[in-house]
Symmetry: D2
Subunit: 331 residues, 4 copies
């Protein structure tokens, strides 16, 4: 019973079906019929003009988006526990040609206008210090916390005031939308580019990076090829993304994962390190307790010496979640 | 009846089966059971210690390999019509941090010690000119020509004399081995790194980059993550590569493509621009002739004003190749 | 009697005086009184709004300018014998983050609209090929040839038509203006950025890079710092540049160098490989003749097996030029 | 009476003399007689084999050194207030091709094995996190604090244990040696590369970057050219560096600056934010007090709302230091 991560979950049956349907001749790269449907599909989803590119990984999605927003001599402001800072192997440094990541604090790995502003204010406006050109937010955050529309609006207001672009790392965007019960547009606010996560949500190896400005998308198309991310059989990636959008499968999958997480959290309310707003549960848990859980067949990561992280996915069996909930309650 | 390219062919049934077998829980990235089999599989194939990494594209395979062989301030020597020079959107410039591509001529888009040596000799050994650190060969070449083992040995001798590493772009390595009727080891010679092509040969979106020095592979692992090419569900890529190696499917597929190309070439021997040694056929062909072929349902690229390129793939139907052969003969 | 190069000539007395005058306290970097005079000085010189930055070398001047005109995923078109291609140690690859140099031919190391156009036309407008964003011209060229205003206008017309920016490497811009007997503005035409050479023309270690768009200059200021080229005692660089502009010393120096070259060329008219339009003289010259010249105390570079290059500078003594002329005539 | 910084001080008379002596013909770049003396001069100074390159700025010195120690996919650990992190305009990101700066705390802007170790331990040894390849220490630190030889030995021990290289930013190395009253070798310890500061210590625009491994120096020579820092009249830079080494002028200059700082500190012992161990004095100082000092003609920087920074230089007049000391005592 695995709760290690959602990043290695299996592939959803409807995605498999879409992959097989794509297994007929078409033109290469992103000129096939499926790839050409992405812009319209995401424009529909967000209710405004959107251009979407498939890529294989969330890291590539994030970095291609950021490379359109931040010049090599500039900086990007993100949370100090953001995935791009801590777990992407320095990919932003590569894709942004050495642009700087300026770090800010914030509860639950979320930024706020209140934590961003003093960091911006601490940077002298001269050539000796690297100037911030964009913000990156993670929806849901590394601790499974969701930005409310009003929080996003406050950040967007600050960004507008300072002339900053906004990127959203939506590796778990579906889980956030499912939790917030708002529209996708409300869950991302006035962002310029969004990494729309699919791999953690039922896909095999396709993510979408969505731009709300065609000029940025055009830049990203050149950068995608340059980064070796323009697959020649792109139709198999487009198929995955479209399958998730079809009938809002992405949302159904995210709801399933969230529900499993909620069940687990409900059984361990007194142990929660963070409110559970998506599909991740961080619990206080001693080494002995963790050992006991593992002995009963539960897989998960330690989170420092006194805590554990449990992640659910679209394919987490309700029985497994229930079993974990019972085991936690019984600790 | 498409002869546009092998790069958008369908996925081989055995690859599909392998993909489905991989659709069960395993650990992420390249820690799964399938990914961990790659080193041994390629060591077996080449009869010497090899380390292999999956990546999604040939461009990424080439560039990750090259980045381990050439420092940012160095140069790479390749044919002036090499794919890395002409068709990878500047990816070598990105992955190699601005290292230079030094170009050399050579018949059939093949380098030879005779064409490499004068280019090397023309570079002054000082800091004002960029020094060559590695060679890149393409097997089979952009014109479907194959390096014979003796040609590779001559180039390797020169490389050794000048302290240069060797990379081989094997996007169509299978086609070369099928033509040369030699071992894979003989078909690559003393290379340091090989891009072992799978996508054009029955895979969906996995290539292998093979290193014959573990230290280079270790570098490439860091660079792969940094380039956003470390997929979290890597098992689906490993599965594709292993499926092609299983029972030498890669070779069977390449032979099928070569056979189709040979049939076409046989019907148009007087039109050949290049001897056909792999799965590409370049023919003299007037605009009117091309129009006539297209009117009969054949898809292919123009190759300048007076020629056409026909590419076969593992899934080219023999009937289609025969039909094209007849049509060419009847022109 | 050295005719090796103008790049190691001595420092002009008026530059020395300016350096000493700068040896008093002022604010650091480019905030001092001298540095702040540069924009106005170059605006006067060119008769249009200009922003000028000092840097230490021509390579830095060229690359900082180019980095404002070409994005990392783009290309720059230059002559295949341009200094940036052949002799700057790969600096454009570094400063432009791997952008490509696309090469074009042209007599006398000069480009023309006629040699540029077919190269541009050969590049498919897709993401697989690197798109050209700017041209770089060298005035005077590597072979000491000067672009006439009409030639510049034709190139500018093509650039405008294709949406390309123009950079001019003016390491020997003074020599070109002296030869062309036109205004500085006419000698550079509609360029976006100009490397205005000073080091070869009497300065110690200051060049100016001139932008005709304040936004580009602003970018370059950030890039200059980032490249470690923002000297804290910048006043000593500004002093050098201003000293050369003062009373058109730059033009007087260039005329002196040109006159010396003309004297040499006049004595060897039948040997000239290129018309002498600046301060470089390329002559057919056998090995025995070169040996004879060296035996008489003349220093110069061989230029391949059958030629020699003689370069004059602002400080070439007329007697030395005359002696060389006589020696050549007597060969 | 300026105490703003030592970075814009005037040029020492002996440096001027050396510059004028260099004003005769010699070969270009670093092939001249003066440049060729640098290796021996620094080998003598440090009592072990050293290779030294001139560059124009401390930023370039630091970054060229670091680029030889840290690959693009690696990280460098430095103090979070190190100059390379806070005030070099992102130059390390540029020169190191996006390598990461990992930050550590430490009193007085000094690292220690005790502050470095936990940061290193917090980095998982996998490809998702960027691995540290080198440390950078600043001697004297941003707060004018000096590393004692025993402290350096402890850090070197840790570096050796973890396989890390060490760079030292010695923009004020002379001031540290003057304070420590030890040999230059003792003041740098087992570093691999040292930025030996000259500009703040009497030079005009030359710094030395010293390598204790010829292979690193060879790399740096290529990188220096590539960064546009190989000046053609390099003899004028070598002359400056050699003039400072001659008769230990560098040490005499540093002692003069330190003495002035000591005089100031002595008069304000109860205000000191940091012990004064070099030529920088950080004092608690209200806005009103600062205004009073400025009214009396003293120039200096505010250091946050309640403090001020006073920097002395080789050319600080003892009378000025005394006047400031008196003014401070009288506050």
């Amino acid at each position: 019973m695995q709760f290690l991560s959602d990043n290695a979950a299996s592939v959803h049956p409807q995605v498999w079906e879409a992959l097989h349907r794509a297994d007929c001749a078409d033109t290469p790269y992103d000129t096939d019929a499926l790839s050409r449907r992405l812009d319209a599909a995401f424009s529909d989803l967000f209710g405004r003009e959107a251009c979407a590119l498939w890529v294989a990984t969330g890291t590539a999605a994030n970095c291609l988006a950021l490379a359109t927003l931040v010049p090599p001599h500039g900086a990007l402001l993100c949370h100090r526990e953001a995935h791009i800072e801590t777990d992407e192997g320095g990919a932003p440094g590569f894709y942004l040609h050495g642009a700087k990541l300026v770090l800010a604090p914030g509860e639950g790995a979320k930024l706020s206008s209140g934590t961003i502003r003093p960091v911006l204010d601490s940077i002298r406006n001269d050539v000796h210090q690297v100037q911030v050109h964009a913000l990156s937010l993670t929806q849901a955050s590394e601790y499974g916390r969701c930005y409310r529309p009003a929080e996003l609006a406050a950040i967007a207001g600050l960004a507008c005031e300072r002339g900053l672009a906004i990127h959203m790392d939506g590796a778990r965007f579906g889980n956030a939308v499912a939790f917030l019960q708002c529209t996708p547009a409300e869950a991302c606010g006035a962002v310029d580019a969004l990494s729309f996560g699919c791999v953690k949500n039922g896909a095999m190896n396709a993510e979408a990076v969505v731009f709300f400005d065609p000029a940025l998308a055009d830049l990203a198309r050149h950068r995608r090829k340059r980064a070796g991310h323009l697959q020649s059989k792109g139709r198999y990636l487009a198929a995955q993304v479209l399958a998730l959008l079809e009938g809002d499968l992405w949302l159904a999958n995210a709801r399933a994962a969230n529900a499993a997480a909620a069940e687990i959290a409900g059984a361990a309310a007194d142990r929660l390190l963070h409110p559970v707003e998506a599909n991740e549960v961080f619990l206080r848990c001693t080494a002995a307790e963790r050992q006991a859980l593992r002995a009963r067949g539960f897989g998960f990561y330690d989170w420092g010496p006194d805590a554990a992280r449990f992640v659910t996915a679209w394919d987490t069996r309700p029985d497994d979640a229930r079993a974990l909930a019972r085991a936690l309650a019984a600790l």
